[in-house]
Amino acid sequence: MNELLHSPLAVVLVAAAATFIWRALGAVLVGRIDPEGAVVRWFTLTSYALLAALVVRLVGLPTGSLGTVSLSIRLTAVVVTLAVWWATGRSVLLGVLAGTGCLVAAVAWAPGF
């Protein structure tokens, strides 16, 4: 039982249920909620804060293989992502490709950086 609760399948089903609840609630409450109201504004701001905290965890406190890459490489890759995104007139694709390419190149040729 304990193993089942910590299985990937249980994690997937829990995450799916946690997401489905909001979708279904939105479908049921259509027309009864002000999309510009205070609750919705709090939801949006909290989502932004969560995504920012998630980036800090993924880059700064990685739990998996990314943790074997030095922090300086990870941070440089984020800076390159933002710099190229900004320099190319806010191109999401080029920014992401450049940052990822930077990480790949650094791991391949300068792993001690």
Partner: protein, 260 residues
């Protein structure tokens, strides 16, 4: 009172849309559906495919089976919630912690559904049809349906959204599998690159933030995460987002109001 006004408002929109476009032929429906497919295999293919490739690599890294990775993309169908769940799973979070964090990550689907669903025809589907469209909806499909160039007739929008979102879902499933296999088979630097994709795309997404209030939430969420992590590693994500979002909400709202 407010509820009634809103109901009336949406009824009026639906009524006006029906009046202005009285007939939708089968060929128009088919054309809208095809446009949904064509639009989805452009920029969304890169956005959804790239994001889900990153998730597939992450799923491999933390020991999911390939089918579990694809199932996650198809059933959850919300990249931040998937990445949050995977991150907490590997750091030892229990199911309750994962449920709370995933629910926070997916909260935005509620206002998105409230805004999108009334613009899709619902004469045949009923409540279940609405819920099905809400389940298919993604940040990408929402953004494309809200563009001025999307079809305006509710029935054409329904055909457009259904095909657009199903195409994105297929791309997402294929991308997940590709990322999973890539992380398993590619040389180490490239596999790590796949793992970095999500962090890079979320970073750019946050940099796109326009409002100062949202920027405050981003800075607070990022700034609070590491210090909280030192004390309560499992709760750092949830606490940083709730505190960051609430502080930005309270102070940002005060800033928005003119001084009296």
């Amino acid at each position: 009172m407010l509820d009634q006004d809103h109901n009336r408002y949406h009824d009026r929109i639906a009524y006006n849309l029906r009046l202005s476009e009285p007939k939708v032929t089968k060929s128009e429906s088919r054309a809208a559906a095809f446009r949904g497919f064509r639009d989805a295999i452009g920029v969304p293919l890169l956005l959804v495919g790239g994001g889900m490739t990153g998730f597939g690599a992450l799923a491999h890294d933390i020991g999911f089976a390939s089918w579990e990775a694809v199932l996650a993309s198809v059933l959850v169908w919300a990249l931040p919630a998937q990445v949050v769940a995977a991150d907490l799973y590997t750091s030892g979070g229990d199911l309750v912690a994962i449920a709370i964090a995933a629910a926070l990550a997916s909260m935005r689907f509620f206002p998105m559904a409230v805004a999108l669903l009334p613009t899709l025809d619902n004469s045949a589907g009923g409540q279940l049809g609405r819920i099905a469209q809400a389940q298919l909806m993604s940040a990408t499909s929402w953004a494309f349906l809200m563009r001025g160039s999307a079809p305006s007739d509710p029935r054409l929008r329904l055909a457009y959204h259904t095909v657009f979102a199903l195409t994105c879902l297929s791309i997402g499933a294929i991308g997940t599998l590709a990322g999973y296999l890539g992380a398993a088979g590619l040389p180490r630097p490239l596999a790590l690159g796949l793992l970095f994709l999500n962090a890079a795309s979320f970073t750019v997404l946050l940099a796109e933030t326009r409002s100062r209030q949202a920027l405050l939430a981003v800075l607070l969420g990022a700034g609070l995460c590491a210090p909280i992590h030192m004390v309560l590693p499992e709760a750092s994500l949830v606490l940083a987002s709730v505190i960051g979002g609430t502080v930005a909400f309270v102070f940002g709202d005060r800033l928005r109001k003119p001084a009296s």
